[in-house]
């Protein structure tokens, strides 16, 4: 059996989104079964089935290190404070 990852896209500008995964013996069976499982209520207009063996998986160790760089995370609070200060006519806190 192969494992297929299912992606659906609605009409318009929305991107393809992951909708689930399931097992099937081959591509044609996957096509036949995915339609009634994932789009029986017209949840999407386009359907991608990706054989999981074709997915490039990046090692977790390689992905993780950037978690310790808070300076890359901007919640907008500094900018908001400067704007507020300017509006109020008082010098911004540094």
């Amino acid at each position: 059996m192969r494992t297929y990852e299912v992606f659906l896209k609605k009409e318009g500008k929305e991107e393809f989104r992951h909708a689930g995964s399931f097992e099937a013996a081959d591509d044609e069976l996957a096509i036949v079964l995915a339609r009634e499982t994932y789009v029986r209520r017209a949840e999407g207009d386009q359907l991608w089935l990706v054989d999981r063996s074709n997915v490039v998986t990046v090692e977790a160790d390689f992905v993780a290190p950037n978690a310790d760089k808070p300076h890359r995370h901007n919640d907008g609070s500094l900018v908001a404070e400067r704007r507020r200060a300017q509006r109020d006519g008082s010098p911004a806190a540094t």
Partner: protein, 246 residues
């Protein structure tokens, strides 16, 4: 509507009704989840086709479609294939494939119907049927692909059901008039030959059609031994409350 046309459409409606009901027996117990969903979608489609055909006849007679769908047992015109219990998945799949392969030709013969009401329901039915066939053929082809227990079971089931499937083409009373009037564009015997060619092409081996032991249906006027139980079940609600809606 002439008598033969009524009989023809009613027989098709009854087949769709029984087939849809038969498929629903697999809800929740199909071999795997995705198949469960696919098979119950197909059941809903077949029941939808039955409803469309019953409504067409009912409108012509100022009747309620339910009065036709749930009439007394001896008035049904279903073929014995659709009345068979298919408690084994191999039987259910074999029947699904045999029946839906036949349906292609039955709907095609209604596509150019002189009755505009008939012609109007064909397009949707054919769209749905193309999925039914792709589903049945894909599953069956995959199972028959290589020698296996699954292939043996499916072939055994096809062999058992073939006489019943071939008897599906037994015409109802008044068929020549129905064809003359153009309500259906082809005689059952011609449709049967096309279907037989499909079956042989798919199985990739000859079939001795004359040797089949077909059930006695007497122009679909005789119900099989299994029908009473189905009728009991499908009329359960309407017997409790004739005004029930669903």
């Amino acid at each position: 509507m002439i008598d033969g046309a009524r009989e023809h459409l009613l027989a098709f409606a009854d087949d769709e009704h029984m087939m849809g009901q038969g498929h629903t027996e697999w809800i929740g117990v199909a071999p795997f989840l995705e198949e469960d969903l696919a098979f119950c979608s197909i059941a809903q489609d077949e029941l939808g086709h039955a409803a469309a055909l019953y409504e067409l006849i009912a409108a012509d007679e100022a009747l309620d479609a339910d009065a036709l769908a749930f009439r007394p047992p001896h008035d049904y015109r279903s073929c014995h294939l659709v009345e068979l219990p298919c408690d084994d998945w191999a039987d259910a799949l074999a029947r699904h494939w045999l029946y839906d392969t036949a349906e292609r030709h039955r709907w095609a013969a209604l596509g150019g119907s002189s009755d505009p009401g008939v012609a109007a329901i064909v397009e949707r039915a054919e769209r749905e049927e193309s999925y039914h066939r792709r589903h049945a053929e894909t599953l069956a082809a995959r199972l028959l692909d290589a020698p296996s227990d699954g292939a043996d079971r499916l072939l055994g089931a096809i062999e058992r059901l073939l006489p019943y499937a071939d008897a599906l083409w037994e015409p109802v009373a008044g068929e020549p008039q129905t064809v003359d009037a153009g309500v259906v564009t082809d005689a059952s015997a011609d449709l049967r030959d096309r279907w037989r060619a499909d079956v042989v092409a798919f199985l990739r081996r000859p079939v001795d059609w004359d040797a089949l032991d077909r059930p006695s249906q007497a122009g679909r006027t005789i119900r099989s031994e299994h029908f009473a139980a189905i009728h009991d079940r499908i009329t359960e609600v309407i017997r409790i409350d004739p005004a029930a809606t669903w």
